[in-house]
Symmetry: C2
């Protein structure tokens, strides 16, 4: 007998024979479940939540790994569950292999589309020798509001379009802004949402009327060539106006490349895109808009602009419809930008009535604390270590990257992306490795490598071999050095100290936290247990953590299709209380303490 298994949120369905395991079902469905132990029930990585249908009772392997609350909520190990019913199964991001995680993001938004630009079909009277009114006057006569402003780019495009299409056209009418675009009749208007990260850029092509995401694409931020972190790029831009313009130009060029790719995939034209929303941290926001960043790089680190901003796309070199606008969500402070606002909007943290910490982990990590009433934010410098940079054998999440490390009877087990021979460690693998080494006693509290057969003296001090040369893809040992551990200690220490300071400002402690929402690509990859083990996150039950993927991108899409959510974003930014950590004397002490490995 066959049963039907629905995997969510990846949206895969499969028919399996009675008695198959859920792990087998996932493999049949092409869902990449983490399963280091190969289905032996020992690694505990293939954790899933059965949301409907009857399943076999928990095995002893599961009882070792899952507590009573977990089981009550339907959490099981996929390798241990035998199928005896039609099931609906939810897979937490942490249980997916790395490359599959970013596919989790929903293509449907939890908002009713009410975009600022709407399509209007206009039918004009053609001119004649006895009616020589201008094209513009004909258009005004056909519009619902004749006094509306018409962008000069539309005036330029209108005469040929009207004559080519027998005096019928679709115009994009924006409030505020007037007529921003003109198209052949019947054109469905598109929007572009962009999450402009320090390292990565994610872009979404969206149908404005339905709110549906048509295509998605990502690129590295080309500004990396001018400096890995925000401060390095601010320094570069400060050197001369020409250098600042260069940073602006390379980003807008990359956005135009993405735009063309997205449109080509969807069989559409960049001219059909009439509105864009771009979110990024304050420095990325400023560099993209062409705003000066000197004052962002020097105390007291003030933004040139923090309010929401509408700029003509052509004024920032973005090649959507010539009269279209780019909307930029508000920034909260010099280092808490519009991307964080977008994340708070997308996750609903801004209106939560319980205690929530929101983390946007990236080269800078923004921390928000919603107390149920107040919304506090701060920013900590985490650097690029989480992306695998500044780590001896670090690499980005690509084939052959070690994404999971696991201690099994004192042996280090690992899993690579696509199962390829290991060639480096990506961020989640590094966290796992540190957690495992600490558990094995190879790392001490201070992050020092202890005397152990795996530990040796390398070129730059002590290092621990993770995978020996014989097993690697390039024939060299893969190691974790004392310095690598130190980079992670600095990054995670700053993050944890930021959380503690915000809680203290609100008169709360870590135990009061009902939920920790982790956003950003890296935050989606990591194993929350490892992050708790190394003291990056507070020691809360695993189910209080929620990994939400690129919430900033989703927030950008919500703002793209909903003017109501633009207004909400403004409220979020205004209501947020920014805490400048360098003003808080206790921060240094918390930071020092948080660098320790528990």
């Amino acid at each position: 007998m066959n049963y039907q298994i629905d995997f969510e949120p990846v949206g895969r369905r499969v028919q399996v024979q009675q008695g198959s395991t859920l792990l087998q079902a996932a493999r049949d469905a092409g869902v990449g479940l983490a399963a280091i132990c190969g289905g032996a029930g020992t690694c505990g990585r293939c954790r899933v939540q059965v949301r409907s249908g009857q399943v076999s009772p928990p095995t002893s392997a599961e009882l070792d790994v899952l507590d009573a609350d977990d089981l009550a909520e339907g959490y099981r190990l996929a390798c241990q569950v035998a199928v005896y019913d039609n099931l609906k199964v939810h897979i937490p991001p942490a249980s997916l292999t790395t490359p599959q995680r970013l596919q989790v993001e929903g293509r449907e938004l939890p908002v009713s589309p009410a975009p600022p630009v709407s399509a209007h079909t206009v039918r004009l009277d053609p001119p004649s020798l006895t009616d020589v009114r201008s094209d513009e006057m004909r258009l005004r006569a056909a519009l619902p509001f004749p006094d509306v402003s018409v962008d000069v780019a539309v005036l330029r495009q209108m005469p040929p379009i009207m004559r080519r299409h027998d005096w019928v056209a679709t115009v994009g009418l924006r409030r505020p802004g007037g007529v921003v675009s003109i198209h052949p009749p019947g054109t469905a208007l598109l929007g572009l949402a962009v999450d402009l990260g320090t390292t990565k850029i994610a872009a979404y092509l969206v149908d404005l009327a339905s709110g549906q995401t048509l295509t998605v694409a990502g690129r590295m931020n080309p500004q990396i060539a001018y400096g890995e972190d925000v401060m390095a790029r601010i320094s570069y831009a400060m050197a001369s106006p020409a250098q600042a313009e260069e940073l602006q130009r390379v980003v807008s060029q990359t956005l135009n490349d993405l735009l063309r790719d997205l449109c080509a995939q969807a069989g559409r034209e960049p001219e059909d895109v009439v509105e864009a929303v771009v979110v990024g941290n304050t420095a990325m926001h400023h560099l993209f808009v062409g705003l000066p960043v000197r004052q962002l790089g020097l105390a007291p680190y003030v933004a040139a602009v923090s309010e929401a901003l509408d700029v003509k796309a052509r004024d920032v070199g973005l090649e959507i419809a010539a009269g279209g606008y780019v909307h930029l969500l508000p920034n909260i402070a010099g280092f808490v930008g519009a991307d964080h606002v977008a994340m708070l909007l997308a996750t609903g943290i801004y209106k939560a009535d319980h205690v929530v910490i929101g983390l946007d982990i990236g080269t800078n990590t923004e921390v928000a604390l919603r107390t149920g009433e107040r919304l506090l934010t701060c920013s900590t410098a985490s650097g690029p270590a989480f992306e695998g940079a500044h780590i001896r054998d670090g690499m980005r999440a690509a084939a052959g990257a070690i994404e999971r490390v696991w201690l099994s009877d004192d042996r280090l087990e690992y899993q690579t992306i696509e199962g390829a021979p290991p060639v480096g460690l990506c961020g989640s693998g590094i966290l796992d490795a540190i957690a495992a080494l600490r558990r094995a006693g190879i790392l001490d509290k201070r992050g020092m490598l202890t005397d152990h057969p795996r530990v040796r003296r390398g070129q730059n001090g002590p290092e621990c071999v993770i995978v020996e040369a014989a097993e690697t893809g390039h024939g060299r040992d893969l190691v974790l050095t004392r310095q690598d551990v130190g980079e992670i200690q600095l990054a995670k220490g700053a993050m944890r100290a930021g959380m503690k300071i915000l809680l203290r400002e609100a008169g709360l402690s870590e135990d009061d936290v009902d939920e920790v929402v982790i956003a950003g690509a890296f935050g989606t990859y990591i194993d929350v247990r490892s992050a708790v083990d190394i003291g990056m996150f507070p020691p809360l039950p695993e189910r209080r953590f929620r990994q939400v993927g690129n919430a900033a991108g989703i927030g950008a899409k919500m703002a793209l299709v909903s003017t109501e959510h633009r207004a909400l974003a403004v409220e979020v930014a205004h209501s947020a209380e920014y805490v400048e950590l360098t003003n808080i004397p206790a921060f240094q002490e918390e930071f020092a303490r948080a660098m320790l490995l528990p």
Copy 2:
């Protein structure tokens, strides 16, 4: 005993001895009065109007030239008037030598300045570690209306300007448009008015608060290289978008050159210029704004845009303050443009309660008829002959150009610009020459050269020698050919026919015309009597003609400094009834008749 003579509108004052002639006084004052006969009282060219003070009684020479009405209004010949009192003397443009005519234009405008952009001084609180608001929020707090929009260019310039000037700055606040510019504190804001002619460009740098013109400059329209007349340029632009862009670019480059020159002369910077007004015919308007012109070049000759237009200067490549606007006055029809609206505004024709014809003589000539109630307009193609082009020995009004020709006892007398040896004829000289040759019977009614000792057969048919080689600056005969006369006949015939058709449409005749207002550089140079003699203008008393110089430029300046006059310009354009001459069957007949020389 000495008396004081004030010459207006040139604004010169001089002390002269009792008994001196007014011609002598004018020479002493550096005022270039036309006086072909050298003060003998025979040429009648040094006509002036004595507006206050006692003078000698009219001489017999004056009684030959001036009628009773003229004398009653104070008109005299300057060479015949002896000074016995302090005098105020008005010099009509026609009595000035050519190069001095354009200097006549008033530097003060007959409007109270109320420009759309006003200067506001803002004093901001500097940021500190406890006040990290963005620069933009500080600015909004210091503005009278915090909700006003702030141009992105201002946001880009604000941080360095504020920090360099201790948080005090002057901003340009525009209604509508918000904050369009930011400057060091105390900067006086400037405006740029441009009359964008098919052949010539005149530009004026104006202090916006006082309305005073600071500097004036002119250039040839660089589009001449792509076609002398409007139709040739439309054809060039129609060939490809790249060619249309080229026409736009060369004009904006020339305007930027003019802008830099004007600012350098005034000791100011282009960034201080926060608003521009550009007027031109509909084709020049469209090519400058980058609007398509194909539909202007094909029947029914429809404008893309006819309403008044505000565009960001950066969107048309004009390098004034980065956030500044260019305002374009409304067009009336495909061939009656914003320059004609500006002329109607500057001269007050639009509101006259008597019958006035307004002429804007150029490569195209626009004709307006104000009946006291209605305002009718049409356009006629006059071609570049009036500028001296397409005329065998034609030249522009420069040193050595024959600007006046006069028949004295069957001898042709002439006067050149700056008294240099003659090298060609400029427009006014050509008209004079045709009038003189017709009077001498050398030209017949149809414009044919008769059998006469001065007439010979040249390379391209009959020609009449105006100055023999021995007297010229280049040692060649200066001639007027049958073809030259034909060019002028076509141009003046179209103009006169246009006037007649408008009068007929209004149920009036030429005798009903109380005033003929002649605008444009060429219209200022010409001798009205010659123009009447050749049938270009109706045979009305000379005092009914008023030569007003570059009224379009003055109208542009009025619109630059007065929002009220922008609104008036819209009313003028809306109230004007455009008459398409090609729709009027009687036009061809009138045209044929008007080509004859009376």
